[in-house]
C-alpha cells in the first residue's frame, strides 16, 4: 500500500511537471473547459434554486382557487357564491379575493392591485412591492397618483414597501383598502375576483375540486399543484433553452478537447516511448495520463462549479438571468437561497470529466502500446 501511494505520488508529480511544460496549451484548454462548466452549472443551480423558491412560496398559497365564469369569460363572484362554496364538505376555510391589473403608461409596467380581506392598508394608503417602488422611485411616506380607467386621479400614500425577499411574488403588487379598490375599478361592493379555499384533508383536494365543478358548473377551479406544475414547466422550458444553447458549446468543446487530447504531439509520443524504454509499462503511462486528464478536468470542473455558485448566489446570476427569469419591466430582484442539486451536479461532472479523461487516455494508450524499440531507433 505504501509503495502504491509512493508510486502514485511520483506519477502525479511527473504529471504536474508535464502539464507545466505545456502550460500554454493546457491553460487554454482549462479556461474553455471551466467556462463551459460555469455556464452549465450556473443554469442548473439557478433553475434549481428558482424551483425551490417557488415551491417554498407556493407552499403557503391556497390549495384551491375558484373563479367565476360567465359565457366562458372571467366574471366576479358574489358573497352568495362564497357561501355556497363554503358549505361544501371538506372545505375548511374560504376567502374572497379582490385583485385586478393596472397598466402604468408612464413606465410601461403592469401592477397587480389587490385588496386583502384582512390586514389591508387603511383608506388612502398603499403597501407596494419592491418592483413598483423601484420603477416609481417610491419609499415609505411618498404619494402615488394612479389614473383609473374612468380617467379619475386617485392619490394614495405609500405606507409600506415589501422587502426584496418577497419579490418573486410581490414585485408588482400594490395592496389597498377594499373600498379604495372598488372605487378605483368602479365595482359595486361585495364582489370578488376569485375565492381561495382551504381543504381539511390535503389528500382530498381533487375530490373537492370535482365537487365544485359539479355544484357550480360555471366556475374554473385552479389547484396549487397545477400552479406549481406551470412554474416547473416554465423553468424547464427556459432551462432547456439555455442548456440547448450551451450544449452547442459543449459539443464545440468536445471537439476541441478531443483534438487537443488525442492529437498527441510528436514530442509527447516520443516522451511516452522514452518512458516505456526506461522501464515504465503501459499501465504506468496510462496512470500518468489519468492523472493529467483528472487534474485538468477535475480542476476545471471544480473552478467552473465554484464560480457558478458565486455567480448565482452572490451576483444574482447576472449573466444568465434575462433568459431564465424572463423579461419584465418589474423585474423581480431577489436573493436566492443557496442550494445545490447534487444529482444534477454529479451528472454534469460525469458528462464533462469522463469524456475528457477518456479523450486523454485513448491516444496515450495507442502510443503506449507502440514498441519502445521505435524510440531506440529514433523514429518516434
Amino acid at each position: 500500500m505504501r509503495n502504491w501511494i509512493s508510486r502514485q505520488a511520483l506519477l502525479a508529480d511527473y504529471t504536474l511537471s508535464a502539464l507545466a511544460r505545456r502550460r500554454g496549451r493546457n491553460l487554454a484548454l482549462f479556461t474553455v473547459y471551466a467556462g463551459i462548466v460555469f455556464v452549465l452549472a450556473s443554469t442548473m443551480l439557478f433553475t434549481h434554486a428558482l424551483r425551490r423558491e417557488a415551491h417554498a412560496l407556493l407552499a403557503h398559497s391556497p390549495e384551491v382557487l375558484v373563479q367565476n365564469l360567465k359565457a366562458g369569460r372571467h366574471a366576479y363572484l358574489t358573497q352568495g357564491d362564497l357561501d355556497r362554496l363554503g358549505r361544501l364538505r371538506g372545505v375548511s376555510r374560504i376567502e374572497g379575493r379582490r385583485w385586478g391589473y393596472f397598466f402604468d403608461p408612464v413606465f410601461g409596467a403592469t401592477y397587480t392591485l389587490m385588496a386583502p380581506a384582512s390586514e389591508s392598508p387603511g383608506r388612502g394608503d398603499l403597501h407596494v412591492g419592491d418592483g413598483v417602488a423601484r420603477v416609481r422611485g417610491l419609499s415609505t411616506g411618498d404619494t402615488l397618483a394612479l389614473r383609473s380607467a374612468a380617467g379619475e386621479l386617485h392619490v394614495f400614500t405609500v405606507k409600506k414597501v415589501f422587502s426584496s425577499e418577497s419579490s418573486l411574488v410581490a414585485a408588482d403588487l400594490v395592496l389597498m383598502h377594499p373600498a379604495d379598490w372598488e372605487a378605483f375599478f368602479q365595482l359595486p361592493g361585495g364582489v370578488f375576483t376569485d375565492a381561495a379555499l382551504s381543504v381539511v384533508n390535503p389528500l382530498e383536494v381533487r375530490s373537492v375540486a370535482r365537487k365544485i365543478g359539479e355544484r357550480l358548473p360555471e366556475t374554473r377551479v385552479i389547484l396549487r399543484e397545477e400552479i406549481l406544475r406551470t412554474y416547473e414547466a416554465l423553468f424547464d422550458w427556459r432551462e432547456g433553452l439555455l442548456l440547448a444553447l450551451a450544449s452547442l458549446a459543449v459539443a464545440a468543446f468536445a471537439i476541441l478537447a478531443w483534438n487537443q487530447a488525442s492529437g498527441l504531439s510528436a514530442d509527447e509520443r516520443r516522451e511516452i516511448g522514452i518512458l516505456k524504454a526506461i522501464g515504465w509499462d503501459t499501465r504506468d503511462v496510462l496512470t500518468m495520463k489519468l492523472w493529467e486528464g483528472g487534474l485538468i478536468s477535475g480542476a476545471a470542473f471544480s473552478l467552473g462549479t465554484l464560480g457558478a455558485f458565486v455567480h448565482v448566489f452572490h451576483f444574482e446570476a447576472a449573466l444568465i438571468v434575462p433568459v431564465l427569469k424572463g423579461w419584465s419591466v418589474l423585474y423581480p430582484r431577489f436573493v436566492l437561497t443557496p442550494s445545490v442539486d447534487a444529482v444534477s451536479l454529479l451528472t454534469l461532472g460525469l458528462l464533462t470529466v469522463f469524456p475528457f479523461t477518456l479523450a486523454t487516455l485513448v491516444p496515450a494508450w495507442r502510443a503506449a502500446i507502440t514498441d519502445p524499440d521505435e524510440v531506440m531507433r529514433g523514429t518516434t
Binding site: 505504501r2 509512493s6 511520483l10 502500446i369 514498441d371
Partner: protein, 226 residues
Amino acid sequence: MSALIELSGVTKVFHEGRHNALVALEGIDLSIQEGRITVLKGPSGSGKTTLLAIIACLARPTSGRVRVAGEVVSNLPETFLAEVRRRTFGVVFQQFHLVAGLSALTNVMLPAYTTGRPHAEIARRAGALLDRLGLARLSGERVERLSGGEQQRVAIARALINDPPVVLADEPTANLDSALSADFLGILGGMRDEGRTVILSSHDPRVCEAPLVDHVVRLLDGKLAA
C-alpha cells in the same frame, strides 16, 4: 562463467507480410556472459540496434527465443516484459533521449518513479550517481542546456538508477570526441568492476578494440559474421 542472456534462432522482420518487408536479423544464436563487456560490431544497417533492442526487451523477435537469466522472455506479455526491462536493464540511447524541460536529477530519477520507492530515497541515489559522474553541480540544470558529454553522463546515471545487472549502450561514442569517448570507456570499466554485464553496439574502433572489451560479436547484413 554462465550465460546471462541467450538468443537462439532469433529473426526480426519489419513490416512482415507487406511489400516493404525487411529482414533485419536472421537466425541469430548468441550467448552473453555475465559480468563481461560485449560489443556488437558491424557497419550501419547490419542489425546492431535491432539486436540490442531485442536483448533489452524493447522489441520482440519475429521468431526465435530470448532467455534472460534462464527465463524465456520473448513470449512474455507486455506487463511482465516491462517488469523484466525495469529489473534487468539500463539503456543508454545513441541520442540519449532525455526528457527536455526536466532537470538532470529528475531525468535520472524517472525510471525509478514506478518502483514504489520513496521520493527521497530515489533523489538521494540519483544525486549520488550524478556526483559519481561529475555532474553534481548540474543536477538542477535542465537537460537541454547541458553539453553532449554531460547529457550522455545523465543518460548513464539514468540507466543505473534501478541498479540493473545489465547495461546496454547504443553507439555510445558516436556523438563524443576522443577525450569524452575515453571517459566513457572508463565508466564502462567501472560498471564491469561492479559486476554488471555491459553490452554495446558500435562500429567505432576506439570501442571495439579497447582492451577492456571482453567479447566482440560481428554482425553483417543481419547475420552473425565469422
